[in-house]
């Protein structure tokens, strides 16, 4: 399959993620949208890796290694993020980010 397909798919996924982050109010869903963004990036990286490998670059595999790092860092983020969301939920009994505006006062 041509690399364009992957690019479009990734961009579409990424945009869905971005829209989700901007429009949803539930912290967990926002969080999942962020993960979607990251995975869109992963997909694109692998596609580009293949593209450059086909173009004859010997170090094209480094993009796949990059994916591993993204996964690891994303996991670290997940760990911290889930902990934070759990903490917020235990204190406010809600994961709606609108509640945060109420906290301000």
């Amino acid at each position: 399959m041509p690399v364009q397909y992957y690019i479009f798919l990734s961009i579409a996924l990424f945009c869905i993620g971005v829209m989700g982050v901007l429009m949803r109010r539930n912290a967990i869903i926002i969080f999942m949208c962020i993960e979607l963004m990251l995975n869109a990036v992963n997909l694109l990286l692998v596609a580009f890796s293949k593209m450059w490998a086909d173009a004859g670059r010997v170090d094209a595999g480094s993009a796949q290694l990059f994916v591993f790092f993204i996964m690891v860092v994303a996991a670290a983020e997940v760990a911290v993020g889930l902990a934070i969301i759990t903490m917020v939920y235990r204190n406010t009994h809600s994961v709606d980010i609108n509640i945060l505006n109420r906290l301000k006062n």
Binding site: S49, A53, V58, D59, A60, G61, S62, Q64, L65, F68, M71, V72, A75, A76, V78, A79, L82, A83, T86, Y89, R90
Partner: protein, 131 residues
């Protein structure tokens, strides 16, 4: 470099996954049909008592979906962390013969950090279920 791996030079095409798709369809069909079949086959004599939750005959109180103990969340979070650390071993394991002792030492270091985190959470009491 680490890039010349089995992952990259894999000759198998996406087509080798085709039978898996077939199996997925078959499984989906089986599950769906069975679900539908039992839905129509069984008797339907619903009463309100029958449709409430069963809690050993005691009347249900409150919502069941209460937050459970924090330990479970902690386990989940730790799993995420350690699982991705395990992921790092896979590419290494595939290539480790070509990486030789040098790579082994690097992985030893990685395992060292892994163990640091592990010992830390153990000492911190994150895995203590006894209380």
């Amino acid at each position: 470099m680490y890039t010349d791996t089995v992952f990259l030079s894999a000759t198998t095409t996406p087509f080798s996954y085709f039978p898996i798709v077939l199996q997925l369809l078959a499984a989906l069909g089986f599950v769906g049909i069975t679900m539908l079949a039992t839905h129509f086959l069984g008797p339907k004599r619903k009463t309100s008592d029958k449709l409430i939750n069963f809690e050993s005959g005691i009347e249900q109180r409150g919502n069941a979906r209460q937050p459970v103990a924090i330990k479970y969340f902690l386990t989940a979070i730790l799993f995420v962390l350690f699982d991705v650390e395990v992921i790092f071993f896979y590419p290494y394991a595939v290539n480790f013969k070509s990486l030789g002792w040098e790579g082994f030492v690097a992985v030893l270091m990685f395992v060292g950090f892994f163990l640091c985190g592990f010992i830390y959470i153990v000492k911190k009491g994150a895995l203590k279920w006894e209380d």
